[in-house]
């Protein structure tokens, strides 16, 4: 085992670190002025800055405008961005999921047409997968695409579509042959969000934000040339896209959690409990230590998994334990924060008494979604049960 970075990895990290020092925006998290559109414009310009610096799409092959970074370099990338609390990129779905899918399954014409816009954030992407009646059971989706000459005519509804309100394009999966078994009749296509017949409605979350949208399709015409992969073989394309969802991104989350637990430890020295610092309270100490330990275990679990993927080439189903681990750990961490902060934990940014600009109130509510988004904990446990442990399918 060698836990130190190689010479090449160190060089990569130092180069990125120096670049971020110069270019990463600071104190952007607590800016509450402006509309959501203005905020998104800010995220878009941040991605453009990354793009101009050669840091957008680092996992993409060089021939498609990426950096061809190794898995460990991708890990370092997310870690370093998290270390400087860099903003997310506007086109996170395009870079992380749609782009890799087009690279793997798309035609040369699609690659040439779409990949540059994804990298530069000139075209923002969303992903039309989930439906009101097809969440965990994605293959049960009902949106319908009928061939009509050189077009598919799409009707249906998608939901939980992140960035739907900002998107220029959508990677959409629809049922193109209802006579085939449910996994067989699906097709993935690239849809211009400005097409007639598309209606986007914001979906407000319990945090008060509207990250998500519902997207309605009424007789939307999509050129056959926009199909990714083969017609009726969209299931494999979709699964390919979802595999990217559980990539190296978690490495950045771990850094964020580490910062959060360290911040809680710091707060425990000034917050009083029973007339003395909470840091001296034996129960609080136990909880902080348990959480600190789990954040370290998240890191070493990831290190083992990344090393394994580096040598075998593909992320396997055992990646599901990372998803369960980070999502459930964040909920425990946020709960400990609430216990430590007491009544102050509930205050949001608008309140003058709020601690850390209301980050813990927001964090607690936002964490509730962690065990649902990107594959529920139940689905992850099904994946481990069936694909890792070899138990019979439960559904």
């Amino acid at each position: 085992m060698d836990l130190s970075l190689s010479l090449e990895e160190t060089r990569f990290r130092d180069e990125l670190r120096a670049w971020l020092e110069q270019h990463a925006p600071k104190d952007w998290e607590h800016r509450h002025d402006g509309s959501i559109e203005e905020h998104f414009a800010f995220l878009r310009s941040w991605q453009k800055t990354l793009y101009d610096g050669g840091w957008a799409g680092i996992s993409w092959p060089r021939e498609y405008g990426g950096r061809g970074a190794s898995l460990m370099q991708q890990v370092i990338f997310w870690q370093e961005l998290a270390r400087v609390s860099a903003p997310p990129m506007a086109n996170v779905i395009g870079l992380g999921m749609v782009g890799p899918t087009i690279i793997a399954f798309g035609t040369e014409a699609q690659k040439a047409r779409f990949l540059p816009g994804i990298l530069s954030a000139d075209e923002i992407w969303c992903q039309g997968f989930s439906e009101p009646n097809a969440g965990s059971d994605l293959a049960g989706l009902q949106s319908d695409g009928r061939l009509d000459g050189e077009h598919f005519v799409v009707n249906g509804q998608k939901v939980w579509t992140s960035y739907g309100w900002a998107a220029d394009w959508c990677e959409l999966v629809v049922r193109t042959d209802p006579t085939l078994p449910k996994h067989k009749g699906l097709t993935v296509m690239l849809v211009d969000m400005k097409s007639p017949g598309i209606e986007v409605r914001p979906l407000r979350q319990m945090t008060g934000e509207s990250e998500f949208t519902e997207v309605f399709f009424r007789d939307v015409r999509v050129p056959v040339a926009n199909v990714v992969g083969k017609v009726n073989q969209g299931w494999d394309v979709s699964i390919g896209t979802l595999m990217h969802e559980r990539g190296t991104f978690g490495a950045g989350l771990q850094i964020t959690y580490q910062r959060n637990i360290e911040r809680l430890i710091e707060l425990s020295r000034t917050i009083e409990r029973g007339g003395r610092p909470a840091a001296e309270d034996p129960v609080i100490r136990q909880k902080l230590a348990q959480c600190y330990a789990e954040v370290q275990i998240m890191r070493v679990n990831q290190m083992r998994a990344f090393s394994r993927i580096s040598s075998t080439g593909v992320p396997g189903p055992e990646g599901s334990i990372q998803k369960i681990f980070w999502s459930e750990l964040n909920q425990r961490l946020q709960q400990i924060a609430q216990e430590l902060l007491g009544p102050y934990g509930q205050l949001d940014a608008a309140d003058q008494h709020a601690i850390d600009h209301g980050a813990w109130s927001y964090g607690y509510l936002r964490a509730r979604g962690n065990t649902i988004e990107a594959g529920t904990s139940e689905i992850q446990r099904n994946i481990i049960g069936h694909f890792v442990l070899g138990l019979p399918r439960s559904y």
Partner: protein
């Protein structure tokens, strides 16, 4: 960066697994459990011949000279097989302390005998009111002689040398010396026997370097957590096998999500404990700044996880899991006993708090 086993480490692990499967099947474990000492001289000779008793002992002292990662891999496999007898006490407890605290001559004297399979040893730490808290120890030498009582000393009944941690230093005591009285304690773990060791004016050899004790205990703690990981892996494996074959309502019970998800959690807990153990081993091997924290993290997580995995395993086995005939209770007993050895989860959370909450003031 590569956080995985080397080829040689994989070979060591696999050959240990094969060795224990052949020499330490459950029938053997059960015979040992029913014996007075759980010690088998023949098996001990084989453990020595394999180089296992001398795995981390310097080649100059007759050992194999491997590192802490190799030690934890061996202990993991021993734990998987529920190896009875004094290997852990001799190698990971007493051996680590002797290695860290004894001067060169004494180290050679004690460790060569262990490596060659001629001697067994153990560590006496806990006193009636101390737990694993070193600050609470009272026993101390008077004119070079030790008097007092140590409890919960593993495998003392078959140890040639008892390494005694006292308030004022670490001592090596000949178990047959006048004034040493060793009486069995009736512990829950049938495969690792516990003893009370009472010392009355016992002549003891003081080891020089008290300062090395912390690191030695960190190594022992990590090795114990590794042994627990092996036990967890075994409980997971037999439970998954059972869930695939046991049928109710016409289906394997493993097809029910209530069962399947428990198995998934057992997997998550086992793998997470393993990650923590491997990291602690590497950190100790390399003398990393966070090595002590890493050892505590490994033990606190393994202590809770091993118990939890045992609970899930028995629950999924249903009534069969609650029988004497089923092997699970032997692992379940070991898990509970190991939970407290070298400090339980609460102990190590407090220790970690001292390292990461207090240290930064």
């Amino acid at each position: 960066m590569h956080f995985g086993l080397s080829e040689n480490q994989v070979i060591l692990r696999d050959s240990a697994r094969e060795f224990f499967a052949g020499e330490c099947p459950m029938a053997f474990v059960r015979r040992a459990a029913e014996s007075a000492t759980a010690y088998d001289p023949q098996l001990w000779a084989q453990l020595a011949a394999q180089g296992y008793t001398g795995i981390t002992i310097d080649e100059a002292d007759g050992g194999v000279g491997l590192g802490i990662v190799e030690l934890v891999l061996l202990m993991e496999e021993a734990g998987r097989a529920l190896l009875p007898g004094p290997l852990f006490a001799t190698v990971a407890m007493a051996g680590a302390v002797l290695d860290a605290c004894a001067n060169r001559a004494l180290r050679h004297q004690y460790l060569a005998a262990i490596a060659h399979g001629d001697a067994r040893s153990t560590l006496a730490f806990v006193e009636p009111a101390s737990g694993w808290d070193r600050a609470a120890l009272r026993l101390a030498a008077n004119d070079g002689r030790l008097s007092g009582e140590k409890l919960f000393v593993p495998d003392a009944g078959v140890a040639n040398t008892i390494v005694v941690v006292a308030r004022d230093g670490v001592y090596a005591v000949d178990s047959h010396a006048p004034g040493v009285r060793i009486t069995p304690m009736a512990g829950m773990d049938l495969t690792r026997k516990l003893y009370a060791v009472s010392l009355t004016e016992v002549a003891a050899e003081k080891l020089d370097a008290f300062a090395g004790l912390d690191r030695a205990l960190d190594i022992a703690t990590t090795a114990l957590a590794a042994e627990m990981v092996g036990g967890m892996q075994r409980m997971l494996d037999v439970t998954v096998d059972y869930a695939k074959t046991r049928k109710q309502f016409g289906k394997p019970i493993g097809s029910f999500q209530a069962v399947q998800h428990q198995c998934a959690d057992m997997y998550l807990e086992t793998e997470s404990a393993r990650s923590a153990v491997y990291y602690a081993a590497v950190a100790l091997q390399e003398g990393a700044a966070d090595a002590s924290a890493a050892a505590s993290i490994a033990k606190l997580y393994a202590s809770d996880a091993c118990r939890t995995v045992g609970n899930r395993a028995i629950q999924i086995h249903g009534g069969m899991g609650f029988t004497w005939e089923n092997d699970l209770h032997l692992y379940y007993r070991r898990a509970k006993a190991s939970e407290t050895v070298l400090g339980d989860a609460t102990f190590h959370r407090e220790r970690l708090a001292r390292l990461v909450v207090d240290a930064r003031r």
